[in-house]
Symmetry: C2
Subunit: 450 residues, 2 copies
Amino acid sequence: LPSSRALARDLAVSRGTVVGAYNQLIAEGWLTAAHGSGTIVAGGSVADPAGPGTSSGGRPTTVGAPGPRGTRPPFPFDLRPGRPDLSAFPRGPWLAASKRVWATAPRDVLDYSDGLGDPGLRTQLAAYLGRVRGVRAEPDQIVVCGGFIEGLALVANALAGLGTRTVAMEDPCLPLHRRIVTRAGLEVVGMPVDAEGAVIDGLLVNNVADGGPLGVVVTPAHQHPRGVALSPARRAALVALARERDAIVVEDDYDGEFRYDREPVGALQGLAPDRVVYAGTASKTLAPALRLGWLVLPEVLLRPVQDSLVARGWQRPVIDQLVLAELIASGGYDRQVRRMRLRYRRRRDLLVTELARRAPTVRVAGIAAGLHVIVELPPDGPGELATIAAGLERGLALYGLATADYPHARNVGPHRPALVVGYATPPEHTYRAAVDALVTLLADLIPTRF
Amino acid sequence: LPSSRALARDLAVSRGTVVGAYNQLIAEGWLTAAHGSGTIVAGGSVADPAGPGTSSGGRPTTVGAPGPRGTRPPFPFDLRPGRPDLSAFPRGPWLAASKRVWATAPRDVLDYSDGLGDPGLRTQLAAYLGRVRGVRAEPDQIVVCGGFIEGLALVANALAGLGTRTVAMEDPCLPLHRRIVTRAGLEVVGMPVDAEGAVIDGLLVNNVADGGPLGVVVTPAHQHPRGVALSPARRAALVALARERDAIVVEDDYDGEFRYDREPVGALQGLAPDRVVYAGTASKTLAPALRLGWLVLPEVLLRPVQDSLVARGWQRPVIDQLVLAELIASGGYDRQVRRMRLRYRRRRDLLVTELARRAPTVRVAGIAAGLHVIVELPPDGPGELATIAAGLERGLALYGLATADYPHARNVGPHRPALVVGYATPPEHTYRAAVDALVTLLADLIPTRF
């Protein structure tokens, strides 16, 4: 078990609370205190096949389910992508910001609202996004939404209302995002992804969308899941295409705050605010459970998205918006992002180092950014599904690039089997053990002579 | 101005803060301190025709807009219905509950969730609704939603998916609710409302909905806006109808916690949990800005509503749910409801007394419940629109029963012109002045000889 000091920090409780809990569990026989080597579980191990995460104890059938899912099965080690380290949520700063909000907010903020989002938060976001991501936004272009999923649904509905029938999306991308677009009555065409990001050549021919208005959804800063950045040439070509074809580009900037090897490239939106919807989120910087995201809309989409909001009777809950605005204004949001950037960079470094040292036949792909890496397996090794299954046996949850998690990866021709490893997911005190479990798994499965 | 003590309590700040602000404004010449008669505005009055709320200063065109609306124009006196006293939000208890949540919540609650709502809140709600409203609910029948608007949209979509084509709704009801149902592809048929509540006789004939499955939306505890309760005979008849016609009844219990003359009648859902959807909300007990409501679903709707949630990628923000659960569990929610019940009862009593004393030709209709009363105007008096317009001239915002606020009231035959007066809307320190403004208006407009 982690030291009482480390666990207390992760859980944001006092050390006395943790020591008390450990002592109780020692008294009841669940734990053993070994002087000099900390506290260990009595007569068991995390890789115990009867433990959670295996076919008998856990709910392994939910592993591999695409997109967000229900309460997570209690895998000892979870390296699936798509979430930040939830134990690092800034509980203290958030609560302090809440206090300031309750001490100062006028009563009218508690009323029904117009659904576009708290004006104070939109003002803070306009400044923050300009400063950090090079987004060109006025507050009244911003709509606060419930994360990217809801934002994408809003934009897809608005595009459909404007006569768009076809939306180009990256292959692979999150299947849930495809479903959202399809449900709006739009047809999805795939764009392959190579080392320069989405390949948009196919969109240049006029028969895509019958020459009608086109929507394009991309992840320029860090393609999900492949982990590459959209190259400068492609960025320029995409903007030119959008102008020429009257297309709207949705820029899903889900993890744009996290770049480790250089200053992040600014948002695509900065190149063409009239054609690009910028979509950001607090799901990766803070926590998915906040359901807080934001859209920066080009003029042409302002009215359709607002109409769609009004027609849905849609209004965001307000309190969390006020707290987030306060957190941004006070600098607490930036501090949290900096803190986590450092933490995730170190995690990525550890993972890359350990893989190189102990499983040298795998290959890490993608830029040094975000919360996940692609770990390519040797083509003549055990493959994705066998690796994932073997991981489950050891209580280690993994995603595969061409498994059910990203089924469209299969459409885009041959590729090396690969894992999509989310190094932000484990709490800090288990990260090293999780990396060890992964590297040991790969070293065991893949004889080094390959 | 209110006393520093009263204002400090309303704003949940220290009295020293208010005194400091008053002194500053006195120093700047905005206020005048008159010994023995408190603090007054220097050289102006709240009914000043150049002040906010009139055609020059305010935004009177938004008055009368149906349903929830944007930031409220700063009328000095607002007696429109549909909202609680926002200055009475329990900021201290809410913040204290937030503290307890952040000290104890496991990190997993910050993850993506299954969209049905926090399990802890659903457990608390099941017990609370059983105890307070006689609702028969297991936690897994409950879905947490964003207030009644979102809840109604979910149920309407689910009903449409089950083959329902027709939904009966009360005439009058909130136009926004009608639009939500219509947008789900359902046809709305109106039910008149008399002194016993919704008249359901028309639904007994088989040609309504071509004999197909039927949806019915009612406000049994306190019809909105007419203010009557559904009589015991009608309750029984509605349940019988639901059984016979395979109908689903949606019980909109928007203000069921507030009954002043007797113990409240239990929810209709308690009579037929297999046919009735119970819908409750925190919008009237706490604040609309929370966007927190709940549905208790009959078995037959569980799956369709869950599917609809999943397909929308819909997930509630979690923090406020945890705080509300904590507030209910700690008794703070009940305390707030009791406190506000007493306050609103006194407000209603004051309004009824003052109307009887100074405008005896108007008639108060509806039961002693909820947050609004119907004030019927004499048939030969100035009518609704003239009364509302005259109110605006004096900075007093009012709703009319058959104006744009409730256009369907016009469909249901002749009725006396009436105002729908929301006595919960003003903050406590302006309530007496608001009543005075209303009563003076009516006394001026309606000569007592009528």
